[in-house]
């Protein structure tokens, strides 16, 4: 078997990304990806043992960067805490409910017993988001806009509320995509509920 090269690996990733984008994760096949990049099926499998692993490699890192950029926009010095949370919630949901992000998430859950994908997603995406949101809320509590509570718990509750209306529907494939207006109004209702619980009155 030939030695693996970085150039070949990148070529496979690029070809696979195109196929995934065009036909989606479910309908993409290793044969089609091989046809796109040329070479033998054995070579392809030598680099990536399964469609799942390949998909994860192609899609996950871009998504992780996207999520990080959204969380970093949370500004604790913003004048209007509600507006800030609302904006964050809407951007977060838009990123989480893109077809690729849904496929990644489903894969992470489905494969968590047999691979480390679940761990990668949890440590690379879930935890950093939680941490940033908790930090934002901690400052809000300190500044008096929010009542004092455990910011980590509050962050987990806010994130869970944001997904409360959509997560099951999407993971169970009841809807394949969510319209931006639906995402925005779900985010608004979640933020309002969160602030009725944590806002100062």
């Amino acid at each position: 078997m030939k030695t693996k090269t970085e150039a070949k690996r990148l070529a496979i990733l690029k070809g696979a990304a195109d196929v995934f984008r065009e036909v989606g994760f479910e309908r993409a096949s290793m044969s089609e990806i091989r046809a796109r990049i040329g070479g033998s099926k054995a070579t392809l499998y030598n680099y990536f043992p399964s469609k799942e692993k390949l998909f994860f490699e192609v899609m996950y890192h871009a998504k992780e960067r996207e999520l990080a950029s959204i969380t970093h926009t949370l500004n604790p010095d913003a004048d209007d805490l509600k507006e800030e949370l609302l904006h964050f919630g809407q951007r977060l949901l838009a990123a989480l409910y893109s077809p690729e992000a849904i496929a990644i998430r489903r894969l992470a859950i489905a494969e968590s017993r047999h691979s480390n994908i679940g761990k990668i997603v949890f440590e690379g995406a879930t935890l950093p988001i939680e941490k940033q949101v908790a930090e934002f809320l901690r400052k809000g509590m300190k500044g008096g806009a929010l009542r004092t509570a455990d910011p980590k718990i509050a962050a987990m509750q806010l994130l869970s509320l944001l997904e409360s209306e959509l997560l099951q529907r999407v993971l169970l494939g009841v809807v394949s995509s969510v319209k931006p207006e639906a995402l925005n109004s779900a985010a608004r209702r979640a933020v309002e509920t969160f602030l009725s619980g944590y806002g100062r009155r």
Partner: protein, 230 residues
């Protein structure tokens, strides 16, 4: 149990075991037949497709659980906080059990295929409808502020799962939580929910939630039925 019922039960039990051990793709109707005994025709007379059999056996545990857990809402109608605490503990104990986590992973893995996800979602919606009806009664009596009760049910469910579910589902954490950890998570979730859905003007007194007695029973005469705590 009739002969046909016991056959059906044997099919469900064997299929459940095989699906959990080998996944949906790794399990064939032929294999299930050989485990149960009898003919493939008999198997198909009970379950017309592998998809339907999968949904049926994955749902069996949820069905049993639902009838039990919903009683918590009805049984503690005189004290909303207590009702939600009992209900919440029951929900989390169920969804955090290793068996249910594995079932959920399987369901999500299969959801995009063959419409099985929709069947599960319908089942979950039945549970939500019960919770929503309960919350709606609390809103009507003024124990909770008036709002969309379906939304309130979604928010309650999300708050209950907020601290615990994801690391388990992603297998970052292997050991299911002990009763104490669940109790603490439920307490915080219910506190957040009751604050968020408190009737106007009562947000500062989170310990006074009382549900009026069920309408079919004789009601107390006089006094404030909604708010009798301290």
């Amino acid at each position: 149990m009739s002969k046909s019922d016991s056959k059906r039960q044997a099919i469900l039990e064997n299929a459940y075991r095989l699906f959990r051990a080998q996944g949906f793709d790794g399990t064939s109707m032929a294999h299930i037949t050989s485990e149960v005994g009898g003919s493939k025709a008999t198997l198909y007379s009970h379950f017309p497709s592998k998809e339907e059999l999968f949904v049926e056996c994955m749902m069996a545990a949820l069905e049993n659980y639902m009838s039990g857990t919903l009683q918590h809402l009805d049984a503690s109608r005189t004290d909303l906080r207590l009702a939600l605490l009992n209900f919440g503990s029951s929900v989390l104990n169920f969804v955090c059990s290793p068996e249910q986590l594995e079932v959920r992973r399987l369901i999500i893995a299969e959801a995009a295929r063959s419409g099985t996800g929709k069947l599960f979602f319908d089942k979950i919606s039945t549970l939500r409808a019960h919770v929503s009806a309960f919350l709606s009664a609390c809103m009507a009596s003024g124990t909770l502020r008036a709002d969309d009760s379906n939304l309130a049910a979604d928010h309650l469910g999300a708050l209950l799962e907020a601290e615990i579910l994801e690391p388990l589902l992603l297998h970052v954490r292997d050991v299911s939580p002990e009763a104490e950890e669940i109790a603490l998570a439920v307490k915080r979730a219910v506190a957040a929910f009751l604050r968020a859905y408190a009737p106007a003007g009562r947000q500062r007194r989170p310990n006074v939630w009382r549900v009026p007695p069920p309408v079919e029973k004789e009601s107390h005469s006089g006094g404030d039925q909604v708010c009798v705590g301290t």
